[in-house]
């Protein structure tokens, strides 16, 4: 099978993408896959890819200037102004921000005040780390339905929207955007 991007080389990287609940497969050669920011050596990075959390570390060192699908800020912009563009930048630049937060903060997990609708929840929502792990497991076992459900749960937890003053619908639109933006680079 030939690569779907260049149409020349043999496809050796087989990707499965989920957009909402539709499953979509992609077949790429190693060069085109790498050029798209996909680490060909680490299958677990699939979940990052799906989440829009960005490509794994290897791609970063190859100077991929990631962009936040929500507000259009590039990570290079952030480096210049030291201020993020929107709340979604935290997810979009998660890999880059992690060492930064590690260096400047006491911990990596919020333990302080929560908005009332979080604090009042009977069940403490699972941590996003544990959700991401579950997502990776679901992807590894090719349980895509379950993976899609967990992905939505992660986005819901991160951008829960109610009828109060806020921006326009975030949740699954953000997930769709982030995958879409990855596709644009192909």
């Amino acid at each position: 099978m030939l690569c779907q991007i260049c149409g020349k080389k043999e496809a050796t990287v087989h990707l499965t993408q989920m957009l909402n609940d539709a499953v979509r497969k992609m077949h790429l050669c190693e060069q085109c896959a790498e050029a798209s920011g996909i680490d060909v050596n680490v299958p677990a990075s699939m979940s990052n890819f799906l989440l829009g959390l960005g490509a794994p570390k290897k791609a970063k060192s190859e100077s991929v200037d990631r962009v936040c699908p929500q507000c259009g800020m590039h990570f290079s912009d952030f480096k210049k102004v030291s201020r993020l563009g929107c709340q979604n930048c935290y997810a979009a630049f998660a890999d880059e921000l992690e060492p930064l937060l590690n260096g400047m903060q006491k911990g990596m997990r919020h333990v302080g005040k929560k908005p009332a609708h979080y604090a009042g929840a009977v069940n403490v929502p699972p941590s996003s780390a544990s959700l991401k792990k579950a997502l990776e497991e679901a992807v590894a076992s090719e349980n895509y339905e379950e993976a899609a459900r967990i992905r939505d749960q992660i986005h819901e937890a991160e951008n829960s929207a109610t009828g109060r003053l806020s921006g326009h619908g975030q949740g699954s639109a953000a997930a769709e955007n982030s995958v879409a933006s990855k596709k644009e680079r192909h």
Partner: protein
């Protein structure tokens, strides 16, 4: 603007007359918050900022916790008024430089101030004289909860309240305390204290915040980390360190008197002489002399002035306040004349 004229007539929430402040001058707690789904101010552009302010104004304008708050749009303030608000610690210099779409909302007694579209969509603070962090946290927490009942904040269970700068993410809290530390400065111990405090994760700044030096021996101590601990833990640690520094300052003053009594009496006497007789005083010299006067009064070296009046002079001799009292914008030489005149009047009239 009438609202600002009214403010100038009162002593400022961090320098309440009657509150004998001493070494620990004032406390402040601020929270940074953003609205879900809106771009952060610096990335949003004017149109979006104007819309956000428009949406937030009705919410902030009727806060129960602020009882008939004063809403001041930055675009409607002149330079002198902005300067006054900065000098009173009611808004930042960064906010003053913003145009349309930014505002500050104040409680009448200035104990609560909420900046809209500064670095974050909302930055709310509670401020009072003396060491009062726990109460201020309660107070600002109530304001925050009230705003949250009509607004959806940008929040993630993992990272907490999401802020424009990752250095504020999580709790979004910045608790700070202003300290007057002439004893440690004169004993040459201040640098080792600043170093030690830095190692404990606190930042030390001057009287008017980031980038200002410690004129008048005034130092602001604040927490630097916001993620991974509760607001209470952060506030209690700062309080503990502040109390330790308070002890160091007291011991510094005792040793200063034991070791350098003549010098310290001379230091105080010269400050009284200059402040009551100088014809021109610049800002820096004024702060240094007021600091020496304050120290001498607290050490019982003489005087007969109320310390609250000295504190008031720290504020009234700043350029914005001075120009407001003069009723016009004046250049630096005229300001130095006006400053010396004001101090002479206050110290001579206010002498018991």
């Amino acid at each position: 603007m009438k609202a600002v004229d009214e403010l100038v007539k009162q002593p400022g929430s961090w320098l309440k007359v009657g509150g004998n402040t001493g070494i620990i001058v004032s406390s402040r707690v601020r929270l940074a918050r953003n609205i879900c789904g809106r771009r952060f101010p610096a990335w949003a552009g004017e149109e979006e900022s104007v819309r956000l302010l428009h949406d937030l104004t009705p919410v902030l304008g009727r806060l129960q916790a602020c009882r008939d708050p004063i809403v001041l749009e930055i675009g409607a303030l002149n330079r002198m008024e902005k300067e006054i608000l900065i000098e009173r610690h009611l808004m930042s210099r960064d906010l003053a430089e913003k145009g349309k779409g930014s505002a500050v909302v104040l409680k009448h007694d200035e104990s609560v101030a909420i900046m809209v579209n500064e670095e974050d969509h909302i930055r709310m603070q509670a401020m009072s004289p003396g060491l009062n962090l726990r109460n201020l946290l309660k107070q600002i927490d109530a304001v925050d909860s009230e705003i949250e009942s009509s607004v959806e904040y940008a929040f993630s269970p993992q990272l907490g309240y999401l802020t424009a700068c990752p250095s504020n993410v999580g709790t979004g809290i910045r608790a700070s305390v202003m300290l007057h530390l002439p004893g440690l400065v004169l004993m040459n111990e201040i640098n080792s204290i600043i170093k030690a405090v830095g190692k404990m994760g606190l930042a030390v700044r001057g009287l008017w915040g980031e980038g200002t030096d410690a004129a008048g021996n005034m130092f602001q101590l604040s927490n630097q980390t916001t993620l991974g601990e509760t607001e209470q833990t952060i506030v209690e640690r700062l309080e503990k360190i502040v109390l330790e520094i308070d002890e160091h300052e007291k011991s510094g003053r005792t040793r200063l008197f034991e070791q350098k009594e003549n010098q310290i009496r001379d230091h105080f006497g010269r400050a009284v002489g200059i402040l009551t007789h100088a014809h021109m005083l610049n800002s820096k010299e004024t702060l240094d002399m007021l600091s020496a006067l304050r120290l001498g009064l607290e050490m019982g070296l003489g005087g007969g002035w109320q310390s609250a009046m000295i504190d008031e002079l720290f504020l009234l001799t700043q350029p914005g306040h001075l120009q407001k009292l003069e009723g016009r914008v004046i250049g630096s030489e005229k300001r130095d004349l006006a400053r010396a005149r004001l101090i002479r009047q206050k110290l001579i009239d206010g002498h018991i």
